[in-house]
């Protein structure tokens, strides 16, 4: 059924349709509306047979999820940014134990300095923890990915993180098509655990593993993610059959057939990029888009295939690997080793900085002329940065850097973006 609603609400409806048995969460912007929405549904008995638990920290949230999933219940939680970091130990524990928990991460920057706005640093900080990571481009895809996530998690016995841009998607009102319970039931069967705490067949879960077997156990985790590379497209195909939509999968391409320049990105910024690409195509540029939906496992072959015929690629990412440059870009480069492509990394939108069509157009045109540096920080205020660097050269007690920069910027309230 078509609805005009907030992204968080769409996700809450999708999760509810998946018949979760235990939901545990701790509030953090910008995920709060999702969990509040689910709480309301439980209270109104629209979502039945579901235990909703208010926990005292994100670490507790993931821990409750671990207990619940190990005892055989379909379990869901949501977090962002600082919360994801706070639960990091438990996040690794969940994937190490092979528990099919589904978690929404409403992507938000990580402090210090504290920042509540969108970027991908939170999810990407956990890229190697063993969870599957999916990135939604629209609220519709966010809704759809949650349904696919439960099925994927339970078939592989591996937890799945569905990432959606905080505020930009979570707090945006958009049209979405909410499936029926029948459709979801047809796609997602009840949870059949591979391992479970059962009084009739007692097992010990979580024992120490020494040097004799640790490598093998860890390899199996990797092997499972390799299986996911096969399973994810299958699940997306099945999804299209039941729900009539092309959603999910490893990657999506747009106008890529004869593209000389390929722009690569994840999440909602793909929408803006596509508008720019349409305009540039009208002006004769041979430019296309590669959207990465599945970041872990990283679809090396699919990415290489998508870039096979282009001359150059530009990775536009809302993340920064401090000390080296791009995160997504580094992963992409691994896919295109030996292909002789020129590659540009652009770090943009950190902490919610707006990414505009105007800036992207100028950026892509420069890339097309191969006039870009290998690493670019989009729309960076070099003035402010250099002033601060000077300040630090002049005095030892130069004060907190962030506060000094803010003073230079002046009042923020009067700005539009």
């Amino acid at each position: 059924m078509l609805k005009q609603c907030e992204g968080s609400h769409a996700v809450a409806e999708a999760v509810a349709l998946c018949r979760p048995e235990v939901i545990c969460a701790y509030p953090i912007s910008p995920q709060t509306h999702i969990v509040e929405g689910l709480g309301e549904m439980v209270k109104a008995e629209d979502l039945k047979d579901c235990e909703f638990i208010n926990v005292e920290s994100e670490f507790a949230a993931m821990s409750v999820a671990i207990g619940s999933s190990a005892a055989g219940a379909r379990t869901y939680t949501a977090t962002a940014s600082q919360g994801l970091l706070y639960m990091a130990e438990a996040v690794y524990n969940a994937s190490g134990l092979g528990l099919p928990i589904v978690m929404t991460v409403a992507n938000r920057a990580i402090g210090a300095p504290i920042n509540i706005w969108n970027d991908h640093s939170d999810s990407l900080s956990q890229r190697d923890c063993g969870w599957i990571q999916l990135f939604a481009e629209t609220n519709q895809e966010a809704l759809d990915l949650h349904i696919q996530a439960f099925k994927l998690a339970e078939e592989l016995s591996l937890p799945v993180m569905v990432c959606m841009d905080g505020f930009i998607l979570t707090h945006a009102y958009e049209r979405v098509d909410v499936p029926t319970q029948e459709q979801v039931d047809a796609y997602l069967p009840p949870y059949e655990p591979r391992q479970v705490l059962d009084v009739n067949e007692p097992v010990s879960i979580g024992a120490m593993v020494g040097p004799e077997a640790f490598m093998e156990v860890r390899y199996l985790a990797h092997a499972k993610q390799m299986q996911a590379l096969e399973l994810i497209p299958q699940l997306a195909t099945e999804f299209e059959k039941v729900f009539g939509r092309d959603s999910g999968g490893l990657i999506h391409t747009y106008r890529a057939e004869d593209a000389e320049t390929m722009v690569i990105a994840m999440g909602s910024v793909l929408g803006t990029i596509k508008d720019v690409v349409d305009e540039m195509r009208d002006a004769g540029h041979k430019i296309g888009v590669l959207g990465i939906t599945t970041f872990r496992p990283f679809p090396l072959l699919a990415v290489a295939a998508a870039l096979k015929h282009c001359k150059r690629f530009l990775v536009l990412e809302k993340s920064l690997a401090v000390g080296i440059g791009g995160i997504v870009a580094t992963n992409v480069r691994m896919a295109v080793t030996g292909m002789g492509l020129k590659g540009y990394t652009v770090v943009a939108g950190l902490g919610g900085r707006a990414i505009t069509m105007k800036s992207l157009t100028s950026l892509f045109e420069k890339a097309g002329r191969d006039e870009l540096d290998l690493l670019t920080f989009l729309d960076l205020d070099w003035n402010a940065v250099n002033k601060q660097l000077d300040r630090e050269k002049q005095t030892r007690r130069s004060g907190p850097a962030a506060e000094a920069m803010l003073r230079d910027l002046g009042t923020v309230a009067s700005k539009i973006s």
Partner: protein, 337 residues
């Protein structure tokens, strides 16, 4: 014929007591059908108080729950010695997640059980969470408090040996004042915890006004079984805190574990009591209070308090704490008892 009540006192074994009791009053451990939930073959040290306490506690819990029990375990001595890769000595469904989240994991298990039961897919299975003092009073404290506050249907058992023993005897917030550990040596002019009272979690548990809080020691195993059985007869958040001497960490002889626990109780250093909804209901009485020195002297971790220049003031302060416990928890046996 007049009837005279006769009381039997344990002097260290169950043998005398059990034979004279009706079968239903005998200890769980005396029963040949006991589950041996923590089976033999684990790798605990000689004289480990925790192994003793855990065996009694979990068998009692299994007995009380008709063998429908799942256990969550914190990282620590118990977890390490009970599951030496690739073996496990647990005969029950058991999960070890992390160091600081055991109470939360137990909450999750309880929630899953509740829903399964509601859906007609599962039976009434109970949940026990267990951890040492480190995993309970320090790193696990937040999750513990959360579980209490929500009154989740979990029995949390803390095995308190006063330090992080598995990693080499470092101090925890439960380490008693003046005890020497590997990390309280540099503090102050003498080794031993800078004087504080340690964090007494049973009192904090009482402040949450949960249905049941009790302390116990491995010197009164009968009492321990009774308390676990009683707790299992209740619902909601319950907490049992067991003093379990560690021969290695305390510097005591491995055959003296039970004796040390008894001394802790008889000096008032460790109060043994029960509370419900934040109010003290009963205490195990001290018949003849002993001076704290009797408890401190046998332990090498207190050796620095004695010798040529005994730390008279410190010992006096420890005595004052013990006296305060006796007053506060009503530990002295009443007249005629």
């Amino acid at each position: 014929m007049s009837l005279q009540p006769v009381k039997f006192y344990q002097t260290g074994t169950f043998t005398v007591g059990n034979r004279l009791l009706a079968p239903e009053d005998r200890s769980v451990q005396a029963n040949m059908q006991r589950t041996n939930s923590l089976n033999s073959g684990h790798r605990a040290c000689q004289g480990c108080g925790e192994a003793l306490g855990a065996r009694y506690a979990i068998d009692a819990a299994m007995n009380a729950s008709n063998r429908q029990l799942i256990a969550a375990n914190a990282t620590g001595c118990l977890e390490v010695f009970s599951t030496p890769y690739p073996e496990t000595s647990w005969q029950i469904p058991w999960i070890h997640s992390l160091f600081g989240n055991t109470a939360a994991v137990a909450t999750g298990i309880a929630a899953a059980i509740k829903i399964k039961k509601q859906k007609g897919q599962g039976k009434d299975v109970r949940v026990v969470a267990q951890g040492g003092d480190g995993g309970t009073t320090d790193i696990g404290f937040g999750c513990l408090s959360g579980m209490f506050e929500r009154n989740d249907d979990v029995l949390y058992i803390c095995y308190d040996n006063g330090g992080y023993m598995n990693t080499g005897v470092q101090r925890s917030s439960a380490t008693p004042p003046a005890a020497r550990t590997a990390t309280t040596m540099p503090l102050g002019p003498e080794p031993g915890n800078v004087f504080g009272q340690g964090k007494f979690v049973p009192a904090i548990a009482m402040a949450h006004e949960i249905p049941y809080v009790a302390t116990a020691t491995v010197a009164d195993l009968r009492d321990l079984e009774y308390k676990v059985t009683k707790a299992m007869g209740m619902r909601g958040a319950r907490y049992i805190h067991i003093l379990v001497p560690c021969p290695l960490g305390w510097g005591t002889a491995s055959q003296d574990t039970i004796r040390m626990a008894r001394l802790a109780k008889e000096t008032g250093v460790f109060p043994v009591f029960e509370a419900e909804y934040g109010e003290i209901k009963s205490a195990l009485p001290i018949r003849r209070p002993l001076p704290v020195e009797d408890y401190l002297r046998p332990q090498k971790r207190y050796a620095h308090l004695f010798g040529k220049n005994p730390a008279v003031a410190t010992i006096a302060r420890i005595q004052a704490l013990a006296d305060k416990n006796i007053r506060k928890y009503g530990l002295l046996a009443k007249e005629g008892n």
